[in-house]
Symmetry: C2
Subunit: 526 residues, 2 copies
């Protein structure tokens, strides 16, 4: 029942741009129907309606916004097998993975619903008036977070549900009170359309203005660029490549009114095996590592791509186990033939780099199909050629051998920003390498001990972020409830009469939220 059309104003928008198709990468077959790229007039219309919708949606109470988010979740659940089948066809991802991702997407919407229903996320603060203060009385000052305005969200290729049309960016932006315009990823247009209608219908069922959500298709980059440059768009959420993300960041920064950009882009997720852990658990670490860097054909932003091991024989068991697993690794289809070509090119560039050794490779493959690979380089060469430490999107990992503890510290300090850094370590290792942990804290958004970075919990404490180029703004996360803070700003109300204040800031605390009153956390009325 797919129409192949964008959604603007709650209706299918014909679109006058190029037609493109979904594509089954495993079968190498085109999927019907054709999708019509949106016109620039559709971008304009979506942005105008979003701005209009913002005046009411931005002031809607948390309970009403929660209802909308829950309704979207129900709508996605109702899509059921139809959604999973289309997503399987468009991405070659297995059914169990997509079912899990669907559950995660729905749970994420429900988690944000809880957050805005509970309401304390707005960081309400009240400094009461001090009329007797000298030399000047203090006025009554109250502040809380308010939404930014229309947000442009770019769907990611590698999470057709959880980082796409109703993914974390959309959920957190809607939760904070912002209308959302999604630019669908062209690798899964059918999946995007199905979820897009679930959102648009939920908006209608909840009596919200249709401008609160739009979905735009485009075979190329014109629509995305126009969205980021549109004067009515006030923030951007993006998950994708460093090249595309950086280009959009520059567009956003060059606008007459620059806007905040939250791009999650590129990370090699270094993993350090420390001596005592290596001695105790070499084979177990190797098996876990293989599972992690080949999970989903290596197409996770948190794939561990750099593995730091000491020179010499100590790492032998780990390397042998890992190499054997890679050699047995079956070929699998990547998300798109283009991603597979990029993977092959990135791998070839490394394999031909002097000083890089191929430790093992899986079975040969063609089309969108590929197999795992394990490379090795020594630390000195990595310092000479830091491009070797950049992300290769696919099931490859690079072992980095280092000669001394000092060299390890030099290598760690030379790392770029990362989403994650992982340590396999005993408690004694951690104490001995405390300086390494301290350096990694400055490099990554999440540090993991004795686990693997793939698998990102959606919770209150999660940070899926990190210094550039991992993201465009290390001060934020794109996963977990803290993600809502990206799409809000503090607004201060000075000497407002009670009736003119938002409920969150009224003396009686009618919503029962946590607030800071005269510097102290409390849920009591003022």
């Amino acid at each position: 029942m797919l129409r192949g059309q964008s959604i603007v104003n709650g209706r299918a928008a014909a679109g006058t741009g190029a037609v493109f198709f979904g594509f089954d990468p495993a079968a190498g077959a085109r999927l019907e129907p054709g999708f019509h790229s949106a016109a620039l007039a559709d971008v304009d219309e979506a942005a105008r309606l979003a701005e209009e919708a913002f005046e009411s949606y931005g002031r809607l109470g948390g309970r009403e916004r929660a209802r909308f988010l829950r309704r979207i979740g129900e709508g996605i659940e109702r899509l059921g097998a139809e959604l999973i089948e289309r997503a399987m066809g468009e991405t070659a991802l297995p059914e169990a993975r997509l079912k899990g991702e669907c559950t995660r997407t729905v749970n994420q919407l429900r988690l944000f619903a809880q957050v805005v229903e509970e309401g304390s996320w707005v960081t309400a603060r009240i400094d009461r008036a001090l009329p007797e203060r000298t030399p000047l009385p203090r006025p009554d000052i109250r502040s809380m977070l308010r939404p930014l305005g229309p947000v442009a969200v770019f769907g990611a290729s590698n999470f057709p549900l959880a980082f796409s049309v109703a993914g974390g960016d959309t959920a957190s932006a809607l939760a904070a009170g912002n209308p959302v315009i999604v630019k669908a990823h062209p690798a899964h247009p059918g999946t995007s359309e199905l979820v897009g209608w679930a959102i648009a219908e939920s908006a209608s069922e909840c009596g919200l203005p249709a401008g609160v959500f739009a979905l735009l298709f485009d075979a190329g980059t014109e629509v995305g660029t126009a969205l980021v440059e549109h004067p009515r768009v006030k923030a951007v959420g993006f998950t994708g490549s460093l090249g595309a993300g950086r280009a959009l960041m520059q567009r956003a920064a060059a606008r007459p009114e620059p806007i905040p950009c939250f791009m999650e882009m590129s990370s090699t997720n270094p993993l350090f095996v420390l001596p005592q852990a290596l001695a105790a658990r070499a084979e177990q670490i190797a098996r876990g590592l293989f599972g992690s860097f080949t999970l989903g054909v290596g197409q996770f932003c948190t794939k561990p791509g750099l593995i730091f091991l000491p020179d010499g024989d100590a790492a032998g068991v780990l390397l042998n186990t890992l190499a054997a697993l890679v050699r047995q690794g079956a070929a699998a289809a990547m998300l798109t033939a283009g991603i597979c070509r990029n993977y092959a090119a990135g791998l070839a560039a490394r394999e031909h780099h002097a000083g890089v050794e191929v430790l093992a490779e899986g079975a040969a493959a063609d089309g969108a199909w590929t197999a795992p690979a394990l490379l090795q380089v020594d630390g000195e060469e990595l310092l000479r050629a830091p491009e070797l430490a950049r992300e290769v999107f696919g099931p490859a990992a690079m072992v980095v051998r280092y000669g001394s503890r000092d060299e390890l510290m030099t290598l760690a300090r030379a790392l770029e920003g990362q989403l994650t850094a992982t340590l396999h370590a005993t408690e004694a290792d951690l104490a001995e390498f405390a300086e390494l942990v301290a350096v990694l804290e400055h490099k990554a958004g999440r540090l993991i001990v004795n686990g693997f970075p793939t698998g990102v919990e959606v919770g209150h404490a999660m940070v899926h972020g990190g210094p550039y180029p991992a993201t465009s703004d290390s001060r934020t996360t794109s996963v977990g409830t803290l993600a809502i803070l990206r799409f809000a700003r503090p607004v201060c109300y000075q000497d407002f009469p009670q009736a003119a204040l938002p409920e969150e800031l009224r003396d009686g605390n009618p919503l029962g939220i946590w607030r800071m009153v005269d510097g102290a956390q409390t849920r009591e009325p003022v």
Copy 2:
């Protein structure tokens, strides 16, 4: 006892660039000694030492950082009359204002000391492991805010103490655990040097690495540019003009590793007088408004520069009172002759704009001396020529007459981002104009009822920020304790053993801070 030299590594740095002098704008006289512009090698050295210092200072406990901030406050207080006299000479600001600003600066350092001593600002969150969860167990995930790294701070001309060497940007960046490199504003180099040594000596007395603070002089823009582009600098705090701020934003965005910029730049601070308030308090509003827009010779970022009044006779008393006050307004010296020239040019451009009427002007003046001015334009002309709504830095205000409520809403919607928006209104006015309040919420960081925007409280609830061009990032404030959040990022610790966790995240909660544990606020141990 001034040396006229930058401070790097806790020592005077000779500097090899151009020599420049402080200047008494009231007397038109040069002040000794000459100040030596820093060399690019000094920038490099300061950045290298700051990065080194960060490894220890960034991990220092809140109590130790609080001690440092308090020591700086004491050092500034000890400077006493010497500091106030030099600042008076360099800025022509009156003694009482500078004494007040000094108290504010010291209190601000103490307030941030309290915040980091108390410790809850780090937003600690703990999601405990769920080993029995299916299909996958949940790991233990904890997160908290961590400092960013070396911060470049640009002193502002109009607050030689509170927004300068030891001002709000420095205080909040140091409080969060970041080393600071200040680029002194060349309009008050002596004041900057005195305060700079107070910080450097406090660092030494507290046993901190000298790289935690540096002060750099420059007659031009080379040092500031080099700082923003320096790979070891990780964030920027700036208060100044839109032109300079935007230029530095572009430099920061074009770096190989873009960094966050917090620029406070430009605002005309619209003030709306609503009908019932106008009928009730016209003269009182006029007197308050005159005091506010001429305070400090109009050299406040929060100066109310646009005054919205209805067409017709209702505004007569207000306008007559205001015009009479302006005509009696004495000439006063501005901060610098250059600022005075810019003011004169901005005023002349508006006076010569067709449709702009000069309602009143104060006495003629020359050199750095100027007098207040009151202009008027109708709403239609303002919509045609939106440049008339841009900030004029100095004691001028523009009355905007509007014909209807619809026209007022159109004018409000056309406003750019602002630090503040003010309403003079009865409760009935506020109810009737609720739509205006809703629009202004999207335009400004702080909304004020029946007060005036000059005078910015340093407290927990204050927001001194707003959409571009008021600031570069509406999601932050540069005044008040929320300002500390600009210079920190969340870091997540997954499955860390207790001993390897920061104190803030340990089960026992040894610091007794507020934390979110499994979604609920608590100060209890886990």
